[in-house]
Every structure is written in C-alpha cells, then in structure tokens.
C-alpha cells in the first residue's frame, strides 16, 4: 500500500479511534477535548496527504471486504469526494474548538457522549466521501443517520425525542424505501455498483427504468432535503448548536447532496442524464424548494429555524445545479457544497455564540445585539453575504457557475428561481445584522462576547468565506476534473 492509501484508510479510522481516548478521559474534560482536537488535526492532515496525491493525478483506492459478489466495501479518492472530505475534515477542527466553548458555556449534560458520537459521525462522513461504490456510500450514509441520532436527541426532553423520531423516520424511511431500492435495482441492471467515470448505464437500459431510478435516488437521499422530504432538518435543530453547525449545515446534509452529485455523475453520467427528461422535473422540484423555503425562512423568528430553512433552500441550489445536467451546473453544485458549507457554519456558530452569551434564540429579541457582540455580528454579516452570493465572499463563485449552468439549459423559470432565491436570502438574512446594530431596547452597550474558543472558530470560518473568494481555484480544478468542460 502506498502512503496515500494508508492516509485514506486512516482518515476514516482516526475519528473512529478517537472515541477510545475520548471515553477514557470522560472525567477529565481538558484531556478529552485535547483528544478531540488532536484527532481532528490528524484527520485533516491525512486528508491533505490524500489531496496531495489526487492533485498529482494518483487517486488512491483500496478494497476492504466483499460481503457478497459484485458488492464490496471499497474506497477511492476521486476529486468530488476529495473536495467534500477536505471541507468536512477542516471544519471538524474548527467545530471542535467551538464545541469546547459552547458545551461548557451552555452547561450541556453528557458531554462525553456528545464528543464520541460527533467523532463517529465525522468518520462516517469521510467514509461516504471516499466511497468507491454505491454500496459503501449507502453503508456510511445509514451509519451517519444512526450516529447523529443521539446528537439530535441530546437534550433528552420530549421535544428532542419527537425530533429524533421524525429524524429517523424520514431519513431511514427514504433511504430504505427509495435509495436502497434504487441501488439494488442498479446492481440488478449492471451487476456492480462501482462509481465509474462516464456512468455505468448505457443505451441498452430502458429509458423508463432510468428515469424512475433517477427520481428514486433524488428523493431517496433524504439528507439532501428535497421537498417534500425536508421536514427532518428543521426539527433536528433541537440539537446543540455545534451539531446543527457542522452536521446539519455541513456533514450530514452535504453527504446528501454529495451522494446525489456522485450518483448523477458516476452512475448516470452527464450526457445520459441530460437525455433523460426527469432531470428537468427534479430541477423544478429543487427550484420550488428554493423559493418555498426562502418564504418560510422569512416568517421564522427563531434564528436556528430560519437558518435551517435557508439550508434546505441552499441544498436545493446544489441539486438544481446537478439537474441542469451540464458541466457548468455540476461544477457550480460542487463548489456550492464548499461555499455554502463555510457560509452556513459561520451563521450557526454565531447563533450558538448569541445563545451562550445572551440566551437569546428569537430574532426579534436580538435588536441591538451587535453592540454587545460586535465580533459575532460581523462574522454573521460575512456569512450572510456568502450565502447571498455577493463579493467579497466565496459564495459568489458557486452562484456564478450555477447561473452559467442554468442559462445553458434555456429554462428561464429556473433562472428566475435562482435569482429570486438569492434575493430572498438577502431579505431574510441581512436585516438581522442591520437590526443588530440598532440601539438596543434596554440600552446596554457593554461588550459581552461568547467564550474565546467560540470567537476563534467563528472568525476562522468567516475568514474562510473571504479566503475562498480569493482562492476558489483549487475547488474549481477538482470539479473540472470530473466533468468535460470542453463543450464550452
């Protein structure tokens, strides 16, 4: 095995292995958190090693076992998964730092359990990112659902339990009912589930069946939260904020859109996808989701709920980009995965910081809060701009390519949806910042920020949004490897 292969395998195993030290040090929080941070740094380094290899044209791969004929648990670092893994492992470091401040500042119970399942969830995310076939992807997808469940129900009260029930029901239901079904069907048609450049289907397969399969995949991957299977995401917001931030803005939901992207590119192939027909139907579903969730977000007063609906909408941008079935749309989708990740995690971090420092959750209570928490609200502003897709943030680039992709389809309604969606996101995000700098009703102006670790984390992420504006090319290069941009 080469170094890159070891790095790839270890990047999945290290977070899993970290659960050992974490539970061992459950009585000594400082050591325990050191273990988490150490694991996250090591994981990111390992992913970076894999990236170095991929960048030089060698895609490390390895097969673990083959449970039954033609179906194996195997990993391969291809560009799309690479991009996802880089983002997830980097943000895990930041989130770990943030969690320390949050969990202690907010006096959460069962912190050891929290950090353990968090690490397991990251392991599952990386497993999904590096999956070399649909079966492996499905395994880690399911494991991710199960490992995040204890995080969603962390609080243990009735509301959390109810949320957990909805969470499991929708995610397991769609994945077993549609996703697994589609996978077995695919296996039945082709005899394997490997992700192959250019797709695994060809003209010998019935168009009708392929259309059905595409729809099954799109709705079966419930983590992508395409309407009407989006309900789990807002309810999952009862989880502690670091969970909402990393898992429900980055790892879990991005695993969903990532899976859709991967299946569209490596099962169907862009050309076949473009000839199917149902991809337009799905693009319209995504467009509808974008507008509908933006309107719902406008009406939500709870900050985390507003961000959750915003997330659903932003995920649909990625689905929309994928379903344009052309190179630009897919490049845009992949880049949006990254850009939205950084933007949204910043916003969630800010929401958590506000909660810890002032115990406020409703937007209407946050008038004047910017004077007390200038750092937090500045970061919030940068995150918002990135979500809207305006300079100087990375969000601009992904929106740019998404636009190119949609223009290429000549579906003007979709274009309108994209623009309207961005406009609406500006309307539901920016007033929060503006309002925050109004004079507060109670005239308190003393600075009262969240703990230092939380500020470090949210500043890092907001800085990331700006850095990605300056250097988006590594993401573009990775994405351009998987699609043929020559047609333009």
């Amino acid at each position: 095995m080469s170094i890159a292969q070891y790095a790839l395998l270890l990047s999945i195993l290290v977070p899993l292995g970290a659960t050992g030290p974490i539970s061992l040090f459950s009585r000594n929080p400082n050591l325990r958190e050191t273990a988490t941070i150490a694991a996250s740094v090591i994981t990111f380094t390992l992913v970076a090693v894999v990236y170095y290899s991929v960048k030089h044209g060698i895609e490390p791969q390895l097969t673990l076992i083959e449970p039954f004929a033609g179906v194996s648990i195997a990993f391969r670092a291809e560009p799309l998964g690479m991009l996802f893994a880089l983002m997830a492992s980097f943000l895990w470091i930041v989130t770990s730092i943030y969690s320390i401040g949050y969990m202690r500042g907010h006096h959460e119970q069962n912190q050891t359990r929290f950090f353990i399942f968090f690490a397991v969830a990251i392991s599952c995310t990386l497993g999904a990112a590096f999956a070399a076939n649909g079966f492996t992807l499905f395994l880690f997808y399911e494991a991710l659902t199960l490992s995040t469940f204890p995080l969603v129900t962390h609080k243990g009260d009735d509301k959390a339990k109810k949320a957990g029930r909805i969470y499991l029901f929708i995610l397991l239901g769609t994945s077993v009912g549609f996703f697994l079904f589609a996978l077995i069907w695919t296996w039945h048609l082709t005899g394997h589930l490997d992700f192959r450049a250019g797709g695994v289907f060809d003209s010998s397969h019935s168009r009708t069946v392929l259309n059905v399969l595409l729809v099954l995949y799109a709705f079966g991957i419930g983590k992508a939260a395409l309407m009407p299977f989006h309900r789990w995401l807002p309810t999952a917001m009862v989880a502690p904020t670091p969970v909402s931030a990393l898992l429900h803005a980055v790892a879990v939901v991005k695993t969903g859109v990532f899976a859709i992207l991967k299946i569209c590119v490596y099962f169907f192939g862009v050309d076949l996808l473009a000839s199917l027909g149902t991809h337009y139907f799905l693009a319209y579903v995504a467009a509808f989701t974008i507008i509908a969730t933006a309107i719902i977000a406008l009406r939500k007063d709870n900050l985390k709920a507003r961000l959750a609906y915003s997330t659903i909408g932003q995920l649909s941008y990625i689905v929309l980009g994928t379903m344009t079935a052309n190179a630009w749309g897919i490049v845009g989708g992949g880049m949006h995965m990254l850009m939205h990740g950084f933007g949204k995690i910043t916003l969630f971090f800010c929401a958590g910081a506000i909660l810890v420092a002032t115990h406020k959750t409703e937007i209407s209570q946050m008038r004047g809060i910017g004077r007390r928490m200038p750092v937090t609200m500045t970061a919030f502003l940068i995150g918002s701009i990135s979500i809207v897709g305006a300079p100087p943030t990375g969000g601009l680039w992904s929106k740019w390519y998404l636009l190119l992709g949609i223009v290429d389809t000549h579906e003007w309604l979709l274009l309108c949806a994209l623009i309207l969606g961005s406009l609406l996101s500006a309307i539901y995000l920016l007033p929060i910042v503006v309002q925050a700098f109004y004079p507060a009703t109670d005239n308190t102006t003393e600075v009262n920020e969240a703990p230092l670790t939380m500020r470090i984390a949210l500043l890092t992420c907001s800085a990331g949004c700006i850095v990605l504006f300056a250097v988006p090319d590594f993401a573009y290069e990775l994405m351009s490897n998987i699609v043929d941009l020559g047609q333009h």
Binding site: I65, P67, F68, F138, R165, V176, G177, I184
Partner: protein
C-alpha cells in the same frame, strides 16, 4: 472415526434419541444438562461433518437398517438439508448453553430433567424432519418434535403456558392430520413414500386432480407447522409463555425445519414447475407471505410484552421466507434459505437477551424496560442489534437477507414486490423503535438506577450469537454461497 463416517446421518438421530431417556434416569439437573450439552456439541460437529461430506462427495444416501429404498427408510442429505441441519444443531448448542442458568431460574429442580428429556426429543425430531428422505418418516419426526414441544411450552412459569400448550396441541394435531392426509393421497396415487421416488413418479399422474388436493393438504399442514400467516395462531402464546431458553431454542429451530420440509415437498417432489405453474398456488403463497409480513409486524407494534412482540415479529419474518419461496426461482429460494439462517441467528439472540432481562428484572414487559439501556447495557444492546438486524440495517445479517430477496424479486421484474419488501422494513422499524425508546429514552430522573446486568453465563451465549449476526452481516460470502447451493439442491433433486 472412519468406521463411523458412513453412519454419520444415523448418529445425528440416534445420539439425542438415546440421550433423552438417560436424562430421565439420572434426574440430577446438572447431570442432565451435561448430557444434553455433550450430545448437542457432538451433534453439531456431526452436522458440520455431514455438511463437509456432502460438499466433497455429493448427496449422502443412507438406507436405515440396510433396507434399500423405496421399501426401507432412507436419509437423504444434500446441500439444502445439510445446511439446515447445521443451523438447527448449532442453535441447539447455544440454547442448551443458555439454559444452564436460565432454566433453574424458572423451573423447580425436580422438573429440570424432564425438560431436558423433552428438549432432546424435540431436537431429535427436528433433525429427523430435516434429513429424512421419506415423507412418512418426516411425519413421524414431525410428531416427535411437536409432542415434545407441547411439553416444553407447558413448562412455562405462567399458568397461561398450559393453555398455550393445549392450543398448540390442538392446532398442531390438525396440522399433522392434514399433512398425513396429503401424503396418504400421494401414496394412493404413486404407491411410494420415498421422496426421490415420488419425484420421479408424480409427473406421470399430474393430470389427476388428486395431486392438487394432496398439494393443498400438505401445504396447509406444513403452513401451520411453520406458522405461516394466517395459520400462525399457536405461535405467539407458545413463544411468550414457554421458558425463555425454550423460546430461544424454538425460535431458531422449530419453524426452520418446517420451512425446509415445505420447500422440499413443494419445490422438489412436485414435478418441476408444478408449483410455479399452478399460478394460483404460487400467488397465494406470495400474497400470504406479504400479508403476513405486514400484518404480523403491525400487531407486534401493539404488544406490550417483549416476548409477544418478537413472537409476532417471527411470524412476520416467516412471511419474508414465504415470499422467497413463492417466487419459486433459485434466487428466491436462496433468499429464503439465507433468511432462514440469518433469522435463526438474530431471533435466538433476541429471545436470549429477553431472557436475560427476565432473570434480572423478573418481567419481560415493556414497562420493566425503563432505563434498561443504563441498567443493563449489554442486554439492551443485544436486543437493539437484533432489532436493527430485523429491520435490515447494513452491517447486520438482516441487510443481506433483504438484499437477496429484493434482487430475487427484481430478477422477475416484480419491482412492486421489491418495493413492498423494503416498505416492510419500515413497519419492522416501528416496533423495534418502540423498544429503543423505552429502553434508552424513557427515564425517570428522580430515581437513580444501579447496574443490574444479567449473569455472564447468560450474556456470553447471547453475545456470541450477536457477534455472529454482525459477522455474517459483513461477510456474507459463506452464507450466500451455502444458500445458493441449498436452493440449487432443492431444484435439482428430481434429476
């Protein structure tokens, strides 16, 4: 050993049959347990040796007492029943291992030896059903196993165990009668009781309506034995009120033997394609399987007692095996065989874990489970993993079963069936979920709980099966190949 090699198949029956009366002579609980254990282990090795022999040198045909078939009784073991025999024998060992601590907790000392006597007889019967190549001999063994099962069930601590046993006795007798009428009709038509012989002669008389009648009688008779919905009525109470070790043993063996015989008779003896060509019969089995899977799982959801809940779940799972059988293709039957193995593993483990719960808390109701996740982490985790396996979560055997069954359905372009099978998982998830919620999330914050885990002697056999459940979920090469060979054996008998 070499001198014994030709007689391995006879040993499988003789050993437990002889050991049963020994138990009544010795009467001491420890000694009788020892006898049962030794016999169980020997029979397991014997069964594995038989499987190896079958794989290396083909079907074993053993004429009992040297009388050649079709006059004498013959044991005929191929890939299909050798596989089932291994399942039954191995589960038996774990059942007995578990019974050592579990039975004294429920039974007074003077009755224990009787329990092991009945147990060994039941095991004899099940082995006999599996390896016999003679339909009447199957009936005899069916009766041996049934009668001893009635006794085993009646050992339960609850008074209702007696009514459960009586109910099983009545229904079981009806089943046996139906079966014997069926084979009587076949005998009248062909003049033979030997399976291989029957398979050769039946094609000549298929035009007779009597064949269809015999088919009907046999199907109904065996459906009762395997507790196929809607002939399942005896099962929930029998499982719920029998001693815990007995439930665990029966769940992994009794219905499995019946399913095997059913497949053997319906798919091997009746002329090739008879079953699949008589569209109605085949659709009925499919429909009954689907209905069973959904209805029984739904009923399981409403049960408040864990043993009842998982007994209903068994009926549902038997429905899935019937679906594979109803497809009447080698992929479908392979899926059934695979699920037979997998379900034996998971359900035995679940019932064992429920027994652990009983030993620790004295109850098996959902209410007694409150906070069990903290009080009894190992027991709860065992039930949880068994439950996840029933749902068909990846990394458990249940997933492999589902995969094979769905593929088998797709092979026939029955995508609706594939969708139904997967939808069935969700119904299963609902009742497993009920357990999870009670065990892990219903906590009374006022009371503090101390650890009260079941003794290791119960946990170890349980967890060996749980780990096997995960192992065969990750590496399904062995079970998958065996199941496919078994299915081919079922279809290849007549040639």
């Amino acid at each position: 050993m070499n001198a014994l090699t030709p007689h391995l198949s006879a040993l499988q029956i003789i050993l437990p049959l002889l050991a049963a009366p020994l138990c009544t002579i010795f009467r001491l609980p420890r000694v009788t347990w020892g006898i049962a254990m030794v016999v169980g282990v020997l029979c397991s090795f014997n069964a594995i040796a038989i499987l190896e022999q079958v794989q290396s040198s083909g079907t074993i045909i053993y004429a009992l007492g040297g009388w050649a078939a079709p006059w004498g009784i013959e044991y005929r073991i191929d890939d299909a029943n050798a596989f089932v025999l291994v399942i039954i024998s191995v589960i038996n060992v774990f059942g007995i291992l578990y019974a050592r601590t579990s039975i004294p907790a429920e039974l007074s000392e003077d009755r224990i030896s009787w329990l092991y006597t009945a147990w060994l007889l039941c095991f004899t019967g099940l082995c006999g059903i599996t390896i016999s190549g003679d339909v009447f001999n199957v009936f005899v063994f069916l009766e041996i196993s049934s009668l001893s099962t009635y006794v085993l069930v009646s050992f339960g601590t609850d008074k209702r165990a007696l009514t459960a046993a009586l109910r099983y006795l009545i229904v079981g007798t009806v089943a046996a009668t139906f079966y014997v009428i069926g084979i009587g009709l076949l005998y009248a038509l062909t003049g033979t009781l030997n399976m291989a012989d029957l398979a050769q002669r039946l094609p000549e008389v298929t035009a007779h309506r009597t064949v269809l009648v015999a088919f009907g009688f046999i199907t109904v008779g065996l459906s009762i034995k395997m507790a196929l919905f809607p002939f399942h009525t005896w099962l929930p109470n029998a499982y719920a009120f029998a001693p815990n070790a007995v439930t665990a043993f029966l769940a992994g063996t009794a219905t499995k033997a019946a399913i095997y015989v059913f497949m053997r008779l319906v798919l091997t003896i009746f002329p090739a394609g008879f079953f699949a060509n008589s569209t109605i019969a085949y659709l009925i089995i499919l429909a009954v399987g689907i209905l069973g899977a959904f209805v029984a799982s739904t009923i399981a959801f409403f049960r408040q007692d864990l043993k009842q809940m998982f007994a209903w779940s068994s009926i549902g799972q038997i429905g899935y095996m019937a679906i594979g059988l109803g497809l009447a293709t080698s992929a479908g039957v392979a899926a059934s065989f695979l699920h037979l193995f997998n379900h034996a593993l998971m359900k035995t483990a679940v019932f064992m874990a429920i027994g652990c719960l009983f030993v620790a808390t004295g109850s098996t109701t959902l209410n007694s489970l409150k906070n069990a996740g903290k009080r009894m982490p190992w027991t709860s985790a065992a039930i949880l993993i068994g439950g996840l396996s029933l749902i068909g979560i990846p990394f458990t055997t249940g997933f492999v079963s589902k995969w094979y069954l769905v593929t088998a359905a797709l092979e026939l372009d029955m995508w609706w069936l594939a969708a139904l099978v997967l939808a069935g998982s969700l119904v299963t998830a609902a009742y497993v979920w009920k357990f999870v919620e009670t065990a892990y999330f219903r906590t009374d914050s006022n009371t503090t709980y101390t650890r009260s885990e079941a003794p290791l002697s119960l946990l170890i056999p349980t967890w060996i099966l749980v780990i096997a459940n995960i192992y065969f979920g990750i590496n399904a090469q062995f079970t998958g190949t065996q199941a496919l060979r078994a299915a081919n054996a079922i279809f290849g008998f007549s040639s």
